[in-house]
Symmetry: C2
Subunit: 315 residues, 2 copies
C-alpha cells in the first residue's frame, strides 16, 4: 500500500489502524498488527487500570513499532486509564465518546499523538479545532457503539472531506484492499478496520464468537439499543429479546434492565453465543475464515495493488 | 469517465444511471440525463398508465439517446404500466420490489434490456439467475424505499462483487466523481444516482423541496416506517409524528393510518414541507445548490478525473 499523511505523521508502513475493541484487542492483537506494519491498538474499554498497564508493558517488550490505546471518554475508569497511558508514554491515544478538546493538549505535552473518533461532521470540526493529529470517522455499518445520525461510511467520507483538513481515516464496512483503495480515491488518508481483526487468530475473542462471525451472512447484524446508546450486534437470542422489547416501545430503563452488566464479556470473551452481547460490523458477511494478522495484511495488500493496477489501466 | 461493461451493453457514454424517483423524474429530467451521456429514467411509480405513455412519447420525441423506465413490481398499476412500456418499446426497464424472474424473459423477447434493483445478496443472486442485463444494489443510505437488512452501499459493494458476475451498479450515498471512482475501484461497473438529480433544475420536484435538500445537513434524514416498508425521509413535522409513534411501539396499522394517502405527492410535488413525505438520501447533506443536469455531469466528470489522476501518481 501507500504513503499518506497518516503514515508519515504516525511512522507506520501502511495506512491501516486496527480498531480498539473490547474483549478482542489486547496486547497480542495490537502487537501483531503493529509488527505487520499497521497501527495496532489496545482496547482499554474493558480493562481496569492495572490490567491496561500490564498490556502496555507487554506490547512495549514485544515490539519496537508504534502502537496505540483507545479509550471511550464516557467510560467510568477513563481518567485512571488515561493516567496509566501518560505514565507509560504510549505513542498514540485514540479517544471517543466525549469531547476531543478535554485531553488533546495534555497528551501533546506528554509527546503522545491523538486521534479522535467521530460519527458526524459536528464532532469532526470540534476535533480539528482541538488540534488532534488525525480523525477516524465511523459509519453506520460499523460494529459495536455507533452514532445517532446513522450516517454511512460512504456519506461521511464525502461530507467530512469537504470540511476537514487533518488526516481522515474511514471506519465501518471495510473488509478488502479494494475498499481501502476506493476510500483513498475519495480522499481518505487511511482506514480503521475492526471486524476483520476481531476474527483474527491473535484476537482474544472466544473461538465460538470468531466461528459465528465467519458464518454470518448478509443481514446478520442490526443496530439496536438506540434509546441507551446505539450498538450494532450480531443477531442471537439476546438480540431477539432486545429487538422485541424495542418494537413494543420499551423504555430506556427497560432496555438497561434487559442489558444488565457484563453481557459483552459473557458473549465475546466467555463464548456464550445465546446470552452474550456480540458486537460486530456488517462486514462480517464478507469474512469467510479465521486468519492470522499477517495473512489478513497479505490479502489486503494484494487486493489493494490489483485494484490500483486495474485503475491505472483506465483511459 | 470510463467505458465499462455497463456502458457497452447499454450504449451510453457514462456509467451513470439516474434513479427513477416518484414526483421528481418525469421525461424532462430523464431526457436531460440521457442527453448528457447517462441513462435517464422515468419514474413510473407515481403515474397512471396514460400519463406514463405521454412521458414516454415526449422523451422519444426529444432525444435519440437510450433511456429507461422504472417500475416497482408491487405497485397496484404495475401490470398496466408494463404493458405501456412494452407497447412503446422503451429501451430499458428497471424493476424493483418484486421477483426479477417474473418479467425478464418477456422484456428480452420484446428487445428491452432489464435491470433489477436489490438491497441484499439473496435477490442479487435471483436476479443473476433470472438473466437480467445488470443489477443495481441500493444501500441503507439511499433515499425513499429501502431494504430490510439495512446493509450499507460500501458493504453491499464488497459482498455482491464476490458473488455476482453481471454488471453491478452501486446506489445510495453517491454525490461526487470521487465516489464513482472509489466504487469502481471496488468493482462497480457504474452507479445509480438519485438525490443529486432530485435537486436538479430539470427535476419536477417542487422548488421548496429542492431548497430543503440544499439546506439539509448531516443527520437530516432517517429511515422510518420499517413496520410497513422502510423509507428514508427528510426530518420534518410529518417525520416527527412517525418517529414518535414508532418510539412508542406504534403498530403497522397505526403507521398506515398516520401515513394516509398521497403524502409523497403533497410534499415533493406540491411543496407542503410540513405534512408531506419527503424522500431523499443521506447524501443530501453534501448537496449545496440546485444545478442543471449538465452542470452536475460536468462536476462529476471533473472530480472523477482529478481523483483518477491522483491515484495514477500513487507508487
Amino acid at each position: 500500500m501507500i504513503k499518506t499523511s497518516f503514515t508519515e505523521i504516525f511512522g507506520v508502513k501502511y495506512p491501516v489502524i486496527q480498531g480498539g475493541m473490547v474483549w478482542c484487542s489486547g496486547w497480542r492483537l495490537a502487537c501483531a498488527v503493529s509488527e505487520a506494519g499497521g497501527l495496532g491498538i489496545i482496547g482499554s474499554g474493558s480493562m481496569y487500570p492495572e490490567v491496561l498497564k500490564d498490556h502496555i508493558r507487554k506490547i512495549k517488550a514485544a515490539t519496537e513499532k508504534p502502537f496505540g490505546v483507545n479509550v471511550p471518554l464516557m467510560y467510568a475508569h477513563a481518567d485512571q486509564l488515561i493516567e496509566v497511558m501518560i505514565e507509560e508514554k504510549v505513542p498514540v491515544i485514540i479517544t471517543s465518546a466525549g469531547s476531543p478538546s478535554k485531553y488533546t493538549s495534555r497528551f501533546h505535552e506528554a509527546g503522545i499523538k491523538v486521534i479522535h473518533v467521530v460519527s458526524n461532521l459536528k464532532f469532526a470540526l470540534k476535533s480539528q479545532e482541538a488540534g488532534v493529529d488525525a480523525i477516524v470517522f465511523e459509519g453506520f455499518e460499523a460494529g459495536g457503539h455507533n452514532g445517532t445520525e446513522e450516517t454511512s461510511t460512504l456519506v461521511l467520507m464525502q461530507l467530512l472531506r469537504k470540511h476537514i483538513r487533518v488526516p481522515l481515516l474511514a471506519a465501518g464496512g471495510i473488509g478488502s484492499g479494494e475498499a481501502i483503495l476506493g476510500l483513498m480515491a475519495m480522499g481518505a488518508d487511511g482506514v480503521q478496520i475492526g471486524s476483520l481483526f476481531a476474527a483474527a487468530r491473535e484476537s482474544s475473542a472466544h473461538d465460538s464468537f470468531k466461528a459465528l462471525i465467519v458464518s454470518a451472512g448478509d443481514g446478520a447484524t442490526d443496530l439496536v439499543l438506540k434509546k441507551i446508546g446505539a450498538t450494532r450486534l450480531l443477531k442471537n437470542r439476546f438480540y431477539n429479546e432486545v429487538k422485541e422489547l424495542e418494537l413494543n416501545g420499551g423504555s430506556a430503563d427497560e432496555l438497561k434492565d434487559l442489558l444488565g452488566k457484563g453481557r459483552a464479556r459473557i458473549g465475546m470473551f466467555e463464548g456464550d453465543m445465546e446470552n452474550g452481547e456480540l458486537e460486530i460490523g456488517q462486514i462480517a458477511g464478507c469474512i469467510e475464515s479465521v486468519k492470522s494478522v499477517n495473512e489478513i495484511f497479505d490479502e489486503l495488500k494484494s487486493s489493494f495493488n490489483d485494484a490500483l493496477n486495474r485503475l491505472k489501466l483506465m483511459e
